[in-house]
């Protein structure tokens, strides 16, 4: 890594220039890894968000609960980026990419020539059609949206969370910790159905219920209405009604691909809700078919080298690992995207860690007691480890994850 205090004048190859679009963890990790690997060209990190790079995982947890000081959410202290000779352009939207001319255009008209371009444009919350035009329905993605939701929760009124995935349940746990009455409405027959098998998800559902979170499954939301005094109500197709002061929609994400699409890069537009089939199409090194143009993080649609087919990640760690890998590929050390991405969640103080894809496994081996949320589980397919899940056993998870990774080679 360059010494602190390095600046642009120290770069030995000013003609080389990598432009990274997106200041989330994929884009920032790409920038930091380029410097760590000794990249001597210019690096410009462009992001639409006004804030300097920050951590998203605490948004649904500490930020909502008000237990994290704002300076702690910053990825790096002020001045760090400049000291790394990384030109940070926050609050700056890329409006066009010309891959023939190798230029990007910013909203203020600025043109940037690049030799390498990394699209780390991320994802946005999937919009809930029933919430369209209803003020007071919250989505969680940015620091800005988390701050707005935290203010709304401060009223301590009843909260309805639509969607029982990891983010929805983290929001539910945080709102409950603040003393709000919380109902989670899930369309499937159980929460976390995309992430965990029922026998592991059920003890977590029970924990939510023990802590006073109401969980309703098989709910098809028919409409959301706003009444006088700002009160809301959510009505299910079967006629059930939940009154609320705050409604949070957390029903998955959609990759930000418009820019790539407009630039003529291949983008998979899969069926709604099918993550395997959307995103900017890249190979296992993050390369689009256009030389010098890469995609990483939530926006990227990557091949699943273990199980075939394609997939798109939505987790912090995977975006981080992809950002690092693409940077190494750029400096001439081609590094594939992780075979076994992992993620974590925190719900009512239980740390849940998942690596790989438990749903493809045919056998599993349990250590500990899943029913009391203290366990690690190794999942196998044809004798090969394909996933590891742990609840409140981080040390064991780490060991098992490393064994699983080693077993792939």
């Amino acid at each position: 890594m360059s010494e602190p205090g390095a600046d642009l004048t120290d770069l030995t190859d000013r003609a080389d220039h990598t432009v990274i679009v997106g200041t989330g963890i994929a884009g920032t990790t790409a920038a930091l890894t380029l410097r760590k690997e000794g990249y001597q060209g210019r690096i410009t990190l462009v992001g639409a968000e006004a804030e300097t790079p920050y951590r998203r995982p605490p948004l649904s947890k500490d930020v909502l609960r008000g237990t994290m000081k704002s300076e702690r959410i910053r990825l790096k202290p002020d001045g760090f980026w400049a000291a790394q000779a990384i030109e940070l352009r926050t609050g700056s939207t890329v409006t066009a990419i010309d891959t023939d001319a190798s230029t990007v255009t910013l909203a203020d008209g600025t043109g940037l020539d690049y030799r390498k371009l990394v699209l780390a444009t991320g994802s946005r919350p999937r919009g809930l059609p029933q919430a369209a035009g209803v003020p007071g329905v919250h989505y969680l993605r940015s620091l800005h949206s988390a701050t707005a939701l935290a203010s709304a929760l401060a009223g301590r009124g009843p909260v309805v969370v639509i969607g029982g995935g990891l983010v929805g349940l983290e929001v539910a746990a945080s709102a409950r910790a603040l003393g709000c009455a919380v109902s989670v409405l899930e369309a499937a027959d159980r929460p976390m159905s995309r992430v965990l098998p029922a026998w592991l998800a059920d003890p977590l559902t029970a924990l939510h219920q023990d802590r006073g979170v109401e969980i309703h499954t098989g709910v098809s939301v028919a409409r959301i209405e706003r009444h006088t005094h700002g009160k809301l109500s959510v009505t299910a197709a079967d006629g059930r009604v939940w009154p609320a002061s705050v409604v949070v929609a957390s029903v998955g994400t959609v990759p930000e691909t418009a820019l790539a699409e407009a630039a003529g890069l291949p983008v998979a537009n899969g069926a709604n809700g099918v993550n395997s089939a959307n995103g900017i199409v890249v190979d296992e090194y993050g390369r689009t078919p256009v030389p010098g143009v890469f995609a990483a993080g939530d926006a990227a649609n990557v091949p699943d080298l273990l199980h075939g087919g394609r997939r798109r990640g939505e987790h912090w760690n995977e975006a981080m690992e992809q950002g690092a890998a693409v940077a190494k590929t750029i400096v001439g050390d081609p590094t594939p995207y992780p075979l076994l991405p992992w993620s974590w969640s925190d719900q009512h103080g239980v740390t849940i860690q998942v690596c790989g894809r438990p749903e493809v496994a045919t056998e599993h081996e349990v250590h500990g007691a899943p029913e009391s949320r203290d366990a690690s589980v190794v999942f196998r397919l044809g004798g090969k480890v394909v996933a590891v899940v742990a609840m409140n056993r981080p040390t064991e998870f780490r060991t098992l994850r490393q064994l699983a990774l080693a077993a792939q080679h």
Partner: protein, 62 residues
Amino acid sequence: MNQEPYKVWECQVCGFVYDEALGWPEEDIAPGTRWEDIPDDWSCPDCGAAKADFAMAETSRV
């Protein structure tokens, strides 16, 4: 008695902060416990990353 000022360590995976002055009473790590006195197999309480994944925070204690 160690006269060094207390340091702050930050998980490079998730950003969890361990402050030596505060310890981590949830796991019986007393306030004032120095980083080097924490077992090597200790894990980040938030994301589960290894002790080796922590770095001394560049900012001072806040």
